[in-house]
Amino acid sequence: MLEDKKQTFLANFVAKTADKDSSLAKQEALKALENLEFPTTREEYWKYTRVGKITNANYSQSPSFNVSDISRYLVEGLEAYIVVFVNGFFSEELSDISKAKGITICPIAKARKEYVDQFEQYFGGLSKHESQFFSAVNTVYNTNGVYLNIQKNSLVDKPIHMINLTDAENAAYNPRNLFVVEENAEVTIINSYETVSGSSFTNSTTEIYVKEGANVDSYILQNQSETSNQVNEIDVVQKANSTYTANTVTLNGGLVRNNYNIEVKGQGCETNLYGLYLTSGNQHIDNHTIVDHIEPNCESNEVYIGVMDDASTAVFNGKVFVRSEAQKTNAYQQNKNMLLTDNASAYSKPELEIYADDVKCSHGSTTGQVDEEAIFYLQTRGVSEVSARKMMIRAFANEILDNIKIDALRDILESKIDERFS
């Protein structure tokens, strides 16, 4: 019976994979899918997250879309290359990538035909399609996504903003991105997920190759409807002296699961993972991160902050590996949760697995509520209770927002957060 359920679920996707993909990864994923089942809470990796919401739904298959105005999904005041996908399909008319210099950017379906060598070399090299169900589904049934190649020594002049929209009822799609950032190149990438209307299931997988000395600053903004669910896997490999920074901001969504898998495969690397999640209603936001230090002399910082309202749930699971060769590693990991109601829950699991001795690693996790004494103090200074609470929550969230290097983006997020708690 379980087998039937799996087949029914997979049948949601078959019709959409029009592109011919004969990659090895796809073959591997197809094979893996024969044995992989829906993840259950009996698995440690999915301990706090039930995927029934995703796997029990019936998805419609309507690739058509009616979005014509995307202005409200842009970052106001930010000049960027825009790539738009609606219901998983690339929209050439809504996108603006024509004048991009030093970079190759195109839908992944096109890259599969035009950049055969690179595609063969990189596609599926990092994704966990052999062990993770959703990753395998994405690898087999991916609809479209972005192929990005930043040439050696080039600094991309504007951020690249990928906008993923859905406007259908029960839309399910598998965006697949492949980013290759060559030696000493620098790029800023924004990936936003929004719902125009209806509900959706987004099963996204992104592979990012960060070559020697490259610098990638990436942002993921999740702001989908409460009936929309998302599984988002980001697989990164870093070469020597590179920097990779990820900011993940989850403002809305039904069930959201983010999986970061970062392999630090070179000396002198810096890895920064910052996350902010604000949950309300019955939302369930789950952030899983793995930072694997394989080579010596690297540093990683990780801070995840969450505010949980109503009957929502947040899960954080951070894992830092320090392999025996990775001496002189500094790894920091922190998770802070603020609960606003007694019906909200926070599950935190910061883990360290360390096999080298000359390291400095630490982690911390706190869970609490708004400090009532601080609220009282502010009230004695003439600040209303409502404003005081807003101020405290903003201050709490600012630890993440302060890391955002794009001013326009930070402003927007700040105002969205203020709006939410006023």
Partner: protein, 482 residues
């Protein structure tokens, strides 16, 4: 230094490897090898047990048959063949003894080697010792003094005979036989252990203590300890162990249940120094223990453990903070060397209001060992104003070993305040340099620094144990400098 030859050093190291490794030759009565319902019936009848206990054992056995060995822990070891173990071994019953003189001289010698001469213990340390040797309690001291206060302290089998109502009422209420694989196994085949009952309002005047010892080769040791502190009472309980050197892995699956009724306090301290296996990782004890305590209103349970022995340790002393204002504490030092593996930590389940818990865990890994902290802090939805503080530090010596931290923090109540912090690093070279500069050699410096690092926990131990524990830390880390 000139006279000290390499040969001498070699000899010293050989003899020092495991100071307490020896086998005492005492006639042992054994049940046939393996496990079956018949063996359980045999154990039960040997121990002259009431019918309800036999039924309990059989239920546990049947539950065990349906269970699977847990594999989630960060340890790796050849599986135990449960049919290759003697489940019952007892020194042949000898005539009733009334004084120490009548105790088997071989036994006395063994305690001397361990440095726990009963004589000395009696006179100097004011400790009542219930010595368990291969599953059967041999000698109990100070019983009279305790009896005057109404304290019941003795072997589990005595308690079954003399206080069946208490045993029946509390046994298996904290760790039911369905709890886990090893708890089920223990419930089915436990041979003996300790039982302690402190009546209402009584403060136990001395530290109660049990020494465990695994002696007979291939004997799995399955103790069961039950400590009940009635309302407003206090008891401090010590448990310490050493085991002789053996090549084959020995299984130890104990169950400890603590019950602290309203306003009661239980302090439970353990020094564990079982045979950790040799330098190649051969042999050693498998220590799969289930320890759990229940706190009623205003009660307090405090676990302190110094873990230096065993090849594989799998142990999570836990507190169920059921009553309002109850307090749970866990202080642990775990040292692993050579090929030892430890996966240890605690669970703090906050159910009542204003409950508090503190976790201090200090891990030291050396050689090729793996040392993990695994802990759960759960704040239940109704546990208003719960408070937890956890600190888990790891110290690494060399790049062949591993130190891991797996904390689980689950909070379902907004008024909770939960803090967890952990650090992992090695001993600072500047600290060692400073010691060297003051004329302290590196090996001593490391002992000094490790003892200082573990001080927060060692301080929680009763005095007699603290001394022993410090020595143990030093012995465990011998030869780990390099």
């Amino acid at each position: 230094m000139g006279k000290y030859t390499e040969e001498q050093l070699e000899k010293e190291l050989e003899t020092q490897e495991y100071k307490y490794g020896f086998v005492t030759d005492i006639e042992t009565e054994k049940a046939p090898i393996g496990l079956s319902e018949d063996i359980i019936r045999l154990i039960s009848s040997k121990k002259n047990e009431p019918n309800w206990l036999l039924e309990y054992r059989l239920k546990a056995y049947n539950a065990w048959l349906t269970m699977k060995e847990p594999e989630w822990a960060h340890v790796n070891y050849p599986k135990v063949n449960f049919q290759d173990i003697y489940y019952y071994a007892a020194p042949k019953p000898k005539k009733q003894l009334s004084s120490l003189d009548e105790v088997d001289s071989e036994l006395l010698e063994m305690y001397d080697k361990l440095g726990i001469s009963i004589d000395e213990q009696k006179k100097l340390s004011n400790v009542a010792v219930d010595i368990v040797m291969d599953s059967v309690s041999v000698k109990t001291t100070f019983q009279d003094t305790l009896a005057k206060l109404g304290i019941i302290f003795g072997s589990f089998s005595d308690a079954v005979q003399n206080h069946p109502e208490l045993v029946k009422k509390y046994m298996g209420t904290i760790v039911p036989y369905t709890d886990n694989y090893y708890a089920a196994l223990n419930a089915a085949v436990f041979t003996d252990g300790s039982f302690c009952y402190i009546p209402k309002g009584v403060k136990c005047p001395m530290e109660l203590s049990t020494y465990f010892r695994i002696n007979e080769a291939q004997t799995g040791q399955f103790e069961r300890t039950l400590v009940v502190a009635d309302q407003g009472s206090y008891v401090s309980y010590l448990e310490g162990c050493t085991a002789p050197m053996r090549d084959e892995n020995q299984l130890h699956a104990a169950v400890v249940e603590l019950i602290a009724l309203d306003d009661a306090e239980i302090k439970y301290s353990t020094v564990q120094n079982w045979y950790p296996g040799d330098k190649e990782g051969k042999g050693g004890i498998y220590n799969f223990v289930t320890k759990r305590g229940l706190c009623e209103k205003n009660a307090k349970i405090s676990w302190t453990q110094v873990e230096t022995g065993s090849a594989v340790t799998w142990k999570y002393p836990s507190c169920i903070l059921k009553g309002d204002n109850s307090v749970g504490e866990f202080y642990s030092v775990a040292v692993t060397n050579n090929f030892q593996q430890a996966d240890t930590g605690t669970k703090m389940l906050h159910l009542g209001k204003n409950t508090k818990s503190t976790i201090i865990s200090k891990g030291v890994s050396a050689g090729g060992s793996q040392n993990s902290y695994r802990g759960l802090v759960k704040i239940n939805k109704n546990a208003t104003n719960a408070r937890n503080f956890s600190q888990c530090d790891s110290l690494l010596m060399g790049n062949k070993c591993g130190a891991h931290t797996f904390p689980y923090i689950e909070v379902d109540n907004k008024s909770a305040k939960v803090e967890h912090e952990a650090t992992t690093s090695k001993i600072g070279e500047d600290q060692i340099f400073y010691c060297n500069q003051r004329g302290i050699d590196t090996e001593s410096a490391i002992k000094l620094i490790v003892n200082g690092y573990a001080k927060d926990v060692l301080n929680k131990l009763p005095m007699e144990f603290a001394v022993e524990a410090q020595k143990l830390l030093a012995i465990s880390l011998e030869g780990s400098v390099g």
